[in-house]
Symmetry: C2
Subunit: 269 residues, 2 copies
DNA sequence: CAGTGGTCTAGACCACCGA
DNA sequence: CGGTGGTCTAGACCACTGC
């Protein structure tokens, strides 16, 4: 029978440092669902595992670096809230978050929500070319104004649950967490400048002389590809902001472009 | 008379933690040019400043995190080589680095290198609107093919040195380090999709239906704005790649676009 | 007030590296 | 081999938080 909770004893003869074993055991207990809301303090862990406080601090330094727990002086240590971990979800997520942060109303028009095959996408997801995929196409609106076209492909296994969800207001990653207990923990994005197709121009209410950002995204959870996404974002109102050294990676922001041409503010002659 | 080198004593009554004072003093000595090549070890510093080794470790943890020094078990600690610090320089730098990494020949055509005024840019740099600025306009070529148009404005104080430098092959940040001992340590970038102006299309050999990425960048060294830059990058061959969680932030990559339309690989019907 | 993490000390043993 | 950083211990005092 497997031990699934409770504290394990540490092996002092192991090649692994004590703090690493402690870090691993705490991670296991966190995954097992212990510490719901409450997390033990440094002194308590030192007593529990019979190690010095410095050893505990070294293990917790990692846990904090991973964004898993939050410990501040004086306060009771706590598990990091979901939104405190979600930082590294990427530019697309950041965009939609920043829209809400700007106090704008957000809504999607679902244009397609069905099972499809697509050999190119299937191979990106590591599946057979003919395999059925769940496909979701949405136009994202901010205050009823089109922002982006979002096309998502996922392995067909998600389809049964997702075909009947109303994605007008529902976050896909929230559903993923709720229905399958999956959290995106790794992704790779490719961001390009494009001139949108006529169809996308129509969906986005864009003129023929406007550029757009295209973001292609492959997201994984537990080392398994979960989603391939292609998002076309209006280029006239949105931009990507990056800080170096990055405080929180990069983020999308509403650009304060006042109708003027992009070249007008910095003439080069 | 100012003390410019040698170790200072630490104030144990200060509100600043000992490790922070130590970190500050070591940073000062590093800037003063001590430790050329050799950096003292933990035990030596503990004896020198009369603090415990843990305090030294806390200070050095920061220095290592800043990428200023490199300390590995067994080896003598050393100052980080220039290339070991340069990671967080941003998308533009990353682009030009990736071109060289791909084994391509890199060259610039200097189209302008002079003193200019520009009120908008001056205010971005925190200067008076009428102040003279050093201006450098280059077309970046990779294997003799145009990649990007790069326009740089810097405070006029740099002009005297920079007006006579040949920037055909010379890196601006290298000159900044060499002539003024300044290293960019902070920057903010804004990345947008645009349709280039007719002039930029001509410079980049782009057709009228091509989009481009525009990167605006404000870079600082020692808390002082040093550069405002606007770079227009061909949208048909280059894209921004981002990993989450970011191993090295994001980076520009040569895209393997084989002439095909961007939509051709993923039809949505 | 009790409990938290932040800071600090003064020791210790070890694995690893370069000479 | 001597010196390095990695790890670990067993104490200590303090500022801050929440009750």
């Amino acid at each position: 029978m497997e031990r699934t909770s409770g504290s394990a004893t540490l092996d002092r003869d192991s090649a692994l440092p004590l703090w690493a074993q402690l870090h691993a055991d705490l991670t296991r207990r966190l995954d097992a669902g212990e510490f719901e809301g409450a997390f033990p303090g440094e002194l308590q862990l030192a007593k529990e595992y019979e190690v010095s406080r410095n050893t505990v601090r070294e293990a917790m330094r990692r846990l904090r670096g991973d964004g898993v727990i939050v410990a501040e002086r004086g306060r009771r240590p706590r598990l990091a809230a979901a939104h405190e971990i979600e930082q590294p979800l990427g530019a697309v997520y950041s965009l939609f978050a920043s829209v809400e942060a700007a106090g704008m109303q957000q809504r999607s028009v679902v244009r397609s929500q069905e099972m499809r095959t697509n050999s190119k996408v299937a191979s990106q997801l590591g599946l057979d070319p003919g395999e059925k995929l769940f496909f979701l196409e949405r136009v994202r609106l901010a205050d009823e104004e089109p922002l982006a076209v979002d096309r998502v492909w996922m392995p067909g296994t998600f389809g049964a649950e997702f075909l009947t969800v109303d994605f007008t207001h529902t976050a896909l990653y929230g559903q993923l967490l709720e229905c399958f207990s999956l959290r995106i923990d790794d992704s790779r994005e490719r961001i390009r400048a494009i001139v949108p197709t006529k169809q996308d121009r129509r969906l986005l209410d864009l003129g023929p002389d406007q550029a757009a950002l295209a973001i292609e995204r492959l997201a994984s959870a537990r080392e398994e590809p979960v989603e391939w996404r292609r998002t076309i974002i209006r280029g006239d109102r949105f931009s990507l902001i990056a800080d170096f050294p990055p405080k929180s990676g990069y983020q999308f922001d509403l650009a304060k472009v006042a109708g003027a041409s992009h070249e007008s503010d910095v003439k080069s002659s």
